[in-house]
């Protein structure tokens, strides 16, 4: 009798074991969401990523991204979805296009300008400092001074 009662007690455990779900429904999808969201800007609190932000819109957008991942859309398709609606501003890495050329090429431009300025400045300085050509007499004079110096000390 007792044994049967124990067996009966175990039945609900079996049922609940079947129903229990892992903490994140799909850890792979969550990982993809995280890497994507780290590259996307939250538009409400503009200096936070979509991954960090707790703004309601960020939660909604994460939900959208999760659904798109479930639909097997590629990362590029998901990014395009957001860019179509919110513009390039949602991307933390702006794309290279006509309006962003200066942004992308600016640093290199500055490097070239700096390099040329440096080269010019060095050249100009080379001209103003005369080449010290020493004659045999100069050498003798120096040698004499040095030897006298040694004596004096």
């Amino acid at each position: 009798m007792r044994r049967w009662l124990l067996v009966l007690l175990l039945i609900p455990c079996l049922v609940s074991a079947e129903e229990a779900k892992p903490l994140a429904e799909n850890p792979q999808a969550e990982a993809r969401l995280k890497t994507l969201a780290l590259e996307l800007r939250c538009l409400v609190c503009q200096n936070q990523t979509l991954a960090d932000s707790t703004a309601p819109l960020a939660e909604d957008l994460r939900r959208e991204v999760r659904e798109m991942i479930a639909k097997n859309m590629s990362d590029q398709e998901i990014r395009d979805f957001l860019v179509q609606r919110y513009g390039d501003f949602v991307l933390y890495r702006p794309p290279l296009k006509a309006t962003t050329t200066f942004l992308w090429l600016g640093p290199f431009l500055l490097l070239v300008v700096g390099g040329v300025t440096l080269a010019l400045a060095l050249r100009r300085r080379a001209k103003t400092v005369p080449d010290p050509t020493l004659s045999a007499e100069d050498h003798q004079a120096v040698a004499q001074m040095l030897s006298e110096g040694i004596k004096r000390s």
């Binding site: 409400v44 819109l57 909604d60 959208e64 513009g87």
Partner: protein, 175 residues
């Protein structure tokens, strides 16, 4: 003296850029949707959930789409402007109750007045996402062909209405 000229010029240019930067509002992100067809929607109405409002219902007229919510402070701020606009009746205003509770939305309008022709309810905020909404209130000017012509982010005021929205609406109504 001459050697200070170049650094001074650079300084002036940098200050110029920074000065312009100060006058810009970083919250105003230009919408890529301006000039594009307004995203489709079909949502239940606020006052009668059995009835739907869809983009198709509004073909052939110039109208304003105003995203608002009872929880939104800026919406209260722009509300008198909308009431005034609704009173002169030049352009119909359609409301989109964004991520709001139906009873609170209804109560808010009962308390402050209803400037909208019809209000749809975007409870999940999905239509808002399709329209690129990120901070209510936001207002769209949509033309007869259903193309978005202008987007206002944040509360409307009389000067924006007089200088930008109404001239555009009149022009679009002529077409």
């Amino acid at each position: 003296m001459k050697r200070f000229l170049l650094p001074l010029a650079i300084f002036v240019v940098v200050v110029g850029f920074l000065g312009i930067g100060l006058t810009l509002n970083p919250r105003e992100v230009p919408s890529p949707l301006v000039g594009k067809p307004a995203p489709e929607f079909a949502l239940p109405q606020l006052h009668d959930p059995q009835q739907m409002l869809s983009l198709q219902d509004l073909r052939g007229k110039v109208w304003l789409l105003n995203f608002w919510a009872s929880w939104c402070g800026g919406c209260k701020e722009e509300h008198p402007v909308l009431m005034q606009l609704a009173k002169n009746g030049e352009v119909p205003i359609y409301g989109m109750d964004y991520k709001d509770r139906r009873d609170e939305g209804v109560a808010w309008l009962r308390r402050w007045g209803n400037p909208y022709s019809v209000i749809a309810v975007d409870e999940s905020g999905r239509v808002g996402i399709n329209y690129g909404v990120y901070g209510v209130p936001e207002t769209y000017v949509i033309d007869k062909a259903g193309v978005i012509r202008y987007k206002q982010i944040g509360p409307l005021d009389e000067s924006i209405l007089d200088k930008k929205i109404m001239p555009l609406v009149r022009e679009l109504q002529q077409q």
